[in-house]
């Protein structure tokens, strides 16, 4: 199958329209960022996140009165009966997610006392409880320890599968749990109101450091890529590449601001993937441009060569982009709560990374070329000389095609 056989689209003609559109989008995102601010996650802002899953309907009002400073919103589908609680940054370092969870646990399970909460405690506490009672008469040795550890883990594995226990039948049906052990559990444990799916706290110090490191990682790697392209190809391509990456990241950032997505370390990883994809796209096209410049025997405009290169690589651009988008689409649709936002950002990023290679990069390169050649006085020749010089520098050992000038001479 072939979709594009010798395509002859005039990409350059549309570059300003496309750039105008994306710039508008970025500006809109920026406006939202300035008015509503960004939803900065606890990675960078500090603070705490707690995700709880309840047995019955989520007692939102009670949660609000217990944690007046917190932002509380439902998490996942409504039948999951889960809630995401975001606690603001505290001045002091400490484990405030844990403290809040412990407090909520006491409030929602007033009758708990010294019993073990099967929906709250982990396998360690369970094993210890069983070991101390020894219903299976295993004695005190290592064998007993291993036996009860296995039982404890089996119960928690069952809980993980279900989300949380809602009645004792689910506990007693766990394979490997003897009737005697089940009796001990029913006497000394209970099913608490909620299960903690996730709890995170980031102190002010760590938040600041993570932020700085993430910014450095992005800035340095972008500059390194630009530098490589500048050395391998040409300074103006390097600059165009960096501008293109900045454009892509800004776009992704604008998208994030619009959908109120959380800005976190994971978001930074997504930005990095977008950058990686976009630069890959750009390099492929630059490579073709360089090759075409070497090959071109008639006197051709740089615009024409650029456009031809974009067309020649078009099916590759679409096919590669399409393949990656297929995986991402699948992650968005089936990947679940944790992956969804991440994949969505990547999806948008890959699309914009592809488009920017066809619009932003040519725009910058042509702009640079025209400014430069106007100073030199010769329009077409200036373009040609610039590219040929890059090509004859001998930096492309794989492609030792003679330059047109030498071929003529």
């Amino acid at each position: 199958m072939e979709i594009f056989v010798n395509p002859k689209y005039d990409f350059l003609k549309w570059r300003f329209h496309a750039i105008a559109l994306t710039t508008l989008f970025i500006l809109a995102g920026l406006a939202i960022f300035l008015t509503r601010g960004l939803n900065v996650g606890i990675d960078f802002a500090g603070g705490a996140n707690v995700i709880l899953r309840f047995q019955k309907a989520v007692p939102i009002e009670q949660l609000r009165s217990q944690l007046p400073n917190a932002t509380i919103q439902s998490y996942g589908k409504s039948e999951d009966r889960s809630v995401l609680i975001r606690l603001p940054l505290q001045q002091q370092e400490g484990d405030y997610a844990g403290q809040a969870v412990t407090r909520l646990h006491n409030v929602f399970n007033p009758a708990g006392g010294s019993k073990v909460d099967l929906n709250f405690q982990g396998s360690g506490s369970l094993s210890e409880l069983l070991k101390s009672q020894d219903p299976d008469l295993k004695g005190r040795g290592i064998a007993a320890e291993q036996h009860y550890a296995r039982v404890g883990q089996a119960i928690i594995a069952k809980r993980s599968e279900l989300g949380l226990f809602t009645d004792y039948g689910q506990v007693t049906s766990v394979p490997g749990l003897s009737t005697a052990s089940a009796r001990v559990l029913s006497g000394r444990s209970y099913l608490g109101q909620f299960n903690v799916l996730n709890q995170e706290s980031v102190g002010p110090q760590v938040g600041r450091e993570l932020q700085q490191k993430a910014i450095w990682a992005i800035v340095l790697s972008t500059l390194a890529m630009g530098l490589y392209i500048a050395i391998r190809f040409d300074l103006k391509f390097g600059v165009a590449g960096i501008i293109c990456l900045v454009h892509d990241v800004l776009f992704a950032f604008a998208f994030l601001a619009m959908v109120r997505g959380e800005f976190s370390l994971i978001t930074v990883a997504a930005f990095l993937m977008i950058i990686g994809y976009s630069i890959n796209d750009t390099v492929v096209i630059y490579d073709r441009v360089r090759e075409n410049v070497k090959k071109s025997r008639v006197r051709e405009d740089f615009d024409t060569i650029l456009n031809r290169s974009l067309n020649q690589t078009l099916s590759r651009t679409i096919l590669t982009g399409g393949s990656v988008l297929l995986i991402l689409l699948s992650l968005i649709l089936f990947g679940g709560e944790v992956i969804h936002d991440f994949a969505l950002l990547l999806f948008v990023g890959v699309i914009i990374g592809t488009i920017s290679t066809l619009t932003v990069v040519p725009a910058v390169v042509l702009f640079w070329n025209k400014r430069l050649s106007r100073r030199q006085g010769t329009y077409g020749g200036g373009n040609r000389a610039e590219i040929s010089r890059a090509a004859t520098r001998g930096e492309a050992p794989a492609l030792s095609v003679k330059t047109p000038r030498r071929a003529k001479g």
Partner: protein, 523 residues
């Protein structure tokens, strides 16, 4: 078929076998690629060691010592007051001058620098001493945490030092489902106990022989380090320790390093009045027996009781000076040499982790299959070639991760997607080139040759550019960013191999095996 091609096929098969073997879970090792806490569930903690605590404890000890040394040196005890975390002031007793105290105390307080002030002598911890104390405090805290995490039975815990000052400890406990309990265990002051040893220790926990009249119910079997003749640790041995705990760390008043008869390091300690009574009874009735000093359920040392000890005693043994100092610090503090503050905590419950793995893997597999289908529809025969290359790429990537025990995290999945994207891109670049060459009227053989040659430069460029970026991310990134960089670096290397080597060999195998001209190509 030429020999060269055979060798290439053998190499590819070898790579396939080796990396597949690396991924396939075994009974002993069901999780070949460790999953990150975000996928598997578990606890990640960053703790700050408050090294000031240790400095303060050091100064507090010195304050006591200044009084007792003065008396031992024949001058009345001075008034001593702690000024800050790292300094104290010695004010001479009435009618005594500063020089007398300096003569007695300056040598004793080698780790401090003394300075005369209007009120007396001000002793401040030297910077080198402070650094040493801080360093030891962090190391000791790590060791203590290590022992406790070991006792929890966590598989593959990570306990590492971090932070620019090196005063932070990162603790990663994969699969731990009980953060409250973990933090309690890490933080609580451990029990320091003095208990009596029964029988002789043995390398086998079951093999400890008990003297007659003592049954297994009377003792706990506890591990401790085994030392060779020169006092070096050379294994673990198990002691039978009597269950009753007559004296604990709460009964201690102070502990510090001293010099023994031949200058060897020893640890001197003293008890509170109540503790002294209990300790006297314990030692008096157990002369010539081993007294185990048990910390966190591990036997630290088991010296023989030489005489009845009342309010103070000395622990002798083959101690390195450092060991003696550490033990003294542990004795002083009861457990952790300094308090810990939680700077960061992330706990993913097992339910959420399990859920994200299941959904994530399903989604990734669906996406991957869709991608493969698209390639086959578009390139037909050559598409199958690309599929082989991609699958091999995935196998190499996962195999390398298993080999290096690189953790797979959510950002790592982004790295894999980018890698697969670039791997498929390499194949697409080659195929598009071959199509172009065919359209330009080249023979099939020629088109394949120049397709690979022409695409080579581009593929190297794209991979190198991304690799450079990945190296920077690996160097400067933290946590998730590093995870992304690792998968990306490994994946890119695999991608170059599969696109150039594997894909090409398949083409050669199908179309270029013989010297006959090729009639048709499916691309």
């Amino acid at each position: 078929m030429n020999r060269n091609l055979w060798w290439k096929i053998v190499l590819i098969l070898a790579v396939l076998v080796i990396f597949t073997a690396a991924i396939i879970p075994t009974k002993n090792n069901p999780e070949k690629i460790p999953l990150g806490l975000d996928l598997k569930g578990g606890t990640h903690l960053v703790m700050q060691v408050n090294t000031d605590d240790a400095l303060r404890a050091e100064v507090d000890q010195a304050v006591e010592a200044a009084k007792s040394r003065s008396v031992a040196g024949g001058i009345p005890a001075p008034v001593v007051r702690r000024l800050s975390n790292n300094s104290f002031l010695v004010t001479p007793a009435a009618n005594r001058n500063v020089a007398e105290y300096e003569r007695v105390l300056n040598d004793w307080f080698g780790g401090f620098s003394g300075k005369r002030t209007g009120q007396g002598i001000e002793y401040t911890l030297k910077t080198a001493t402070m650094n040493e104390i801080e360093e030891n405090t962090v190391l000791l805290s790590m060791e203590t945490i290590n022992n406790r995490v070991d006792a929890l039975g966590v598989t593959e815990p990570i306990i590492a030092r971090a932070g620019s000052g090196g005063d932070r400890i990162v603790i990663q406990l994969p699969g731990v489902d009980d953060p409250v309990r973990v933090k309690e265990i890490i933080r609580t002051t451990a029990q320091l106990q003095f208990r009596i040893v029964e029988g002789t220790p043995s390398a086998d926990p079951q093999g400890v022989t008990l003297p007659s009249g003592v049954t297994a119910a009377d003792v706990d079997i506890l591990p401790g380090d085994k030392h060779d003749e020169l006092g070096r640790v050379n294994g673990t041995q198990y002691y039978a320790i009597r269950k009753s705990v007559p004296v604990t760390g709460r009964d201690l008043k102070s502990a510090n390093t001293q010099k023994g008869e031949i200058g060897e390091p020893t640890i001197g300690f003293s008890f509170t009045p109540d503790g002294a009574r209990k300790f006297k009874a314990l030692t008096g009735s157990n002369l010539k027996r081993q007294l185990a000093i048990v910390l966190d359920n591990r036997v630290q040392s088991a010296p023989v009781i030489q005489s009845e000890i009342e309010d103070r005693g000395v622990i002798t043994g083959n101690f390195e000076p450092q060991e003696a100092a550490d033990l003294a610090m542990i004795l002083r503090s009861g457990s952790l040499p300094a308090s810990l503050t939680t700077l960061e905590e992330r706990t993913v419950g097992p339910s959420l982790g399990r859920d994200s793995i299941r959904k994530g893997v399903t989604a990734a597999v669906i996406g991957f299959i869709l991608m493969l289908l698209a390639v086959v529809v578009y390139y037909r025969g050559a598409g199958v070639n690309a599929i082989v290359a991609l699958l091999l790429n995935l196998v190499i990537l996962l195999g390398m991760m298993a080999y290096f025990r690189a953790t797979l995290t959510l950002p790592g999945i982004a790295g894999i997607i980018l890698t697969l994207g670039m791997a498929i891109d390499s194949n697409v670049l080659v195929f598009e080139r071959i199509r172009e060459e065919l359209r330009a009227g080249k023979t099939i053989r020629g088109a394949i040759e120049s397709g690979f040659t022409l695409a080579f430069g581009t593929i190297i460029d794209t991979h190198l550019t991304t690799m450079i970026a990945a190296l920077f991310l690996f160097q400067f990134g933290t946590g998730p960013i590093k995870g992304f960089a690792v998968t990306l670096l490994i994946g890119l290397a695999a991608s170059v191999f599969t696109a150039f080597f594997v894909s090409r060999v398949i083409f050669e195998l199908i179309y270029l095996r013989t010297n006959r001209p090729v009639a048709s190509i499916s691309i």
